[in-house]
Amino acid sequence: MAAGVATAAIVGPIGYLWQDSLLPDTYSAMTMGYADTGGGPSHREHGGGRPVSELTVAAGRRADVSMTMVARFEGGRYTINGTTPGPPVLAARGDLVEVKLVNDNVPAGVTLHWHGVDVPNAMDGVAGVTQDAVMPGESFVYRFRADRTGTYWYHSHQISHEQVIKGLFGAVVIGGARTDTTALVHLYSGGKHTVNGVAADLPVAAAAGAKVRLRIVNTDSGPMDAWTGGPYRLLAVDGTDVHDPAPITGRSVRITAGGRADLEVTAPARVQLGGSPSIVVGTGAPAVGRPSAVVDLLAYGKASPVALGPVTRTFRYDIGRRLGFVDGRPGNWWTVNGHMLPDLPMFEVSAGDVVRMRISNDSGEVHPMHLHGHHMLVLARDGVAATGSPWWVDSLNVADHETYEVEFVADNPGIWSDHCHNLKHAKEGLVVHLMYDGIATPYVIGGRNAPE
């Protein structure tokens, strides 16, 4: 009798936690978790509202840049128009970009997410939230205005962990010069570290003394350091120019997963990229060891005033880790504000809000946090205020035991993912959503859609 009670006392709670963690076959991002209003007015009942599919750029205007991208799975790689990385999207500032994505033979479906480009919500490419995955034989047309210059990239947001590591990505450069070099750094499945898809140094022709802008994109799932021997400057972070960047020597620049850094080097220079091949500008520059110090972007460049206005909502995004079940699988899972998938907060905002967010990490591992559709201004780290150039990010490296204060303006209505860009972690549930008042999604996660 006592033995039976003791057994029930152990098996009962575990069984309850297990069944409570099971996800339905399909569910809407709108009904996930619990509402967090951040101190602002609560939304009306979800379910009604303008569908995200209507949030597009004005129809009728002719595209300035028009491309077709055919996605295939061949030889263990995902390719676009037969190559990986896919073709770069090169646009001038203000151009209307139109990309027709065609799925030739990817059985699980594909989408394209424009990482760092603040596109209208219907164009964001998150399967199950802003569109359905594009199945074999189907197509989807993405249209957005290239209204901010800078270095960005695109990648699939359907089964993103597998599709990105196996090659479904490419560069987006807005307002680039002909002499710029873009470097997509990627570790393919198979163990090859590559730059622009090649497992060898990337040569850049340049006369001694010439200045070259390198647009470096970290497409992997962990942070990467870039450095070079001579003095260099960090011109832009995540597509936003640094105000008055000073020369750097003896320090490396840390680029988080999904993040970008534009470096200006003087030929000859060898830019080293973590454990990947190097970018060799001109000839004769030697390799140097990785500097132990990293440029602190809180204090890099010159300050310039930014006024976002009074804060109307304040959220916290505290990342932790604990034992439990996610969809019936036991493990040591990520938590947000103490909750595990699917019981995660839904950050409710209204158009025009100025949002303050505290992102902290006590989970034992680094998390590259990526907010879709918006850029965040970093105000402080661990209580130390930013004193350098305004530091705008879409992908923020939040190391273990770090706390960041960021602010952004809610000026792009829709339903936006705010997730870890270690795509394995996203798959394990480190994803929340930013939800605007009066917006609804007709799409569901599950079934054909696995945004991860």
């Binding site: 006592a2 033995a3 039976g4 003791a6 057994t7 152990i10 098996v11 575990i14 962990h161 590591i165 750094v185 570790l187 499945s189 198979g190 163990g191 570290h193 992997d220 799932s221 962990g222 942070p223 990467m224 997963a257 973590g274 454990g275 990947s276 880790r321 034992l323 036991p330 493990g331 040591n332 034992g364 591992e365 680094v366 273990d400 270690n422 394995k424």
Partner: protein
Amino acid sequence: MRKTYRILAYVVAAEVVVQAIAIAWFVAGLGNWVTGGGVLDNAAIESDDMAFPELYGLIVHGINGSIVVPVIALALLIVAFFAKIPGGIKWAVIVLVLTVLQGQLGYLGHDYPAAGGVHGLNALALFTVALVAARRAPAREPRPAEAATVGNG
């Protein structure tokens, strides 16, 4: 039930041995791969990829440690409730506590490498305790006459 208890406790001890073999195999493979020109950086750590076959050692270690061993330890405790072995429940609880501690030390090692060292030490403690627990249970089911004596002891 006593036999089941004994077997489960021995399986926990055997699992500790498997864990040691798996992780040592992985570390040896990693060294061999790096020597052959493989590059280990954060991108490689975060990749799911099988760059060298000994990575299966790490996968086995992870699945065993986070799921299989805790489930066996829990089963041992539940069996202990019914097996009526002197001190059986106590030793099963110790096995379970050391198992949970072992998992937490493993994860904590990502953050504080010293915890990884304690993880190795705790493995030996868990191995020993599991053997002690197994040896508390008689190898054969007691005859009814001696069952009463043992049961009260």
